[in-house]
């Protein structure tokens, strides 16, 4: 199974964090189902051509977050989806991210219209990316 993960060596964001985000997203959009098993650390490390420690760290992080769980001796699995954050925390996080976008927009002299428009196109870009991945999955089966 290709999960369509793609790590960019030419990025300043740490590899393990890129991986964390992509697994989070794959789970969120249902590309990896609840209960499904993830590739073994060494396998994924070889596929992505990264250090096994890096993959292990990403898995660790996600286990801590409750997205994955390790069943000893059998591997790492996607846990049942649960609401980790309270409504308040959820909103706090969204506001935090939105605040950063607003800050950047303010710095660059963008108005609300432009900012909203960029948000929308970026959003649609993400949805298409997700759709393409699932259709790839469908064809493979």
């Amino acid at each position: 199974m290709s999960l369509g993960f793609h790590i960019s060596a030419a990025s300043d964001v740490p590899i393990f964090r890129q991986l964390v985000r992509q697994i989070q997203r794959a789970v969120a959009v249902g590309q990896i189902a609840i209960g499904e098993q993830l590739p073994a650390v060494r396998v994924l490390a070889e596929t992505l051509i990264v250090n096994p420690n890096t993959v292990a760290r990403a898995y660790q992080e996600l286990i801590r977050e409750g997205v994955l769980e390790s069943r000893s001796g059998r591997g790492v699995f996607v846990t049942e989806r649960r609401q980790i954050y309270s409504d308040a925390e959820r909103e706090r996080r969204l506001r935090e991210s939105a605040g950063q976008l607003c800050h950047e927009a303010l710095m660059l002299g963008a108005d609300l219209n432009e900012t909203r428009s960029i948000l929308e196109t970026t959003w649609k870009g993400l949805r298409n990316e997700a759709r393409n991945n699932s259709s790839t999955e469908r064809k493979r089966k």
Copy 2:
């Protein structure tokens, strides 16, 4: 006048970067007017209880960005606003920030409507902050 800067040593975002953002914000919002002088490096370092080099680095960053200017032997001042980035670079940066917001929203199960709505309220919050500051200034006179 206290500029109300507040740095958190516990945060994972570097002190000098926290300072950069707060100064950017203060300038954008009119809390520090164009042409106005910023606190001396050593003074600000003392009030924030950080190393003078750290403050100097934040000032440097903002000078390179064209937000501040250094007048030798006299201090650091707010410059007239100017657009230094190309359209391409500007869009690259906006997309980057928008992408992060989208990711966070996806992780938290928010849809486009909710995300856009949060963006809008956050945006208006910023605008009010600006308005309040200018009215504060007016009262002082």
Copy 3:
């Protein structure tokens, strides 16, 4: 490969800035190819006999300019060339440099013809430098 960097402690131009210019030049001229890794901060600091912080500062400056990029834990690399400045900013900077040349010419009693002629020969000197470097590369292969 020695990159042939040379810093002069006696010069009134700061060490980190001397370094910035030489790296800019080396990249522009193709002496360091896109994607290539630069010497480690500590290594370059040792060979140039300067403080690692000074080298790091030069790298930082170039990262902000978009010439280099830092890949966490792995080193600093040359990025693909991109235009980050607006047309206005670009022209502002060119006029600034041109103004200095004109001033110097005026001081030395040179007329426009002589100045323009010197500009052209200097320019061609740079182009040859670039050409020679790429041919050196070709020979290596």
Copy 4:
């Protein structure tokens, strides 16, 4: 006599150096004749609203360069024009300045045509500035 000097407080180039350059230029274009006396330090300091030390330092610099001479008790005068630099030194300096302009142009992706064109317009800007000053002088007389 207004010499048309203008110092910009909002510049990162030191005031005394701005003054040095403007006096150099005024002498070079004949706005101040050989043998003519310059304003007393205190007078010029008051006119420009700068520290007398700053003016004194500029005069000092120019005396060292041989542009001005101090006649004890009577003031500071423009010296007979003489060739300070050898031809070799003169060319070295021009090449140095031209090299800096070429470097900046290279960094900003400008070609020779654009660079030459900017040189020419900047040059003409300077000539006009000089002409306007002398005509002002003529009217005053």
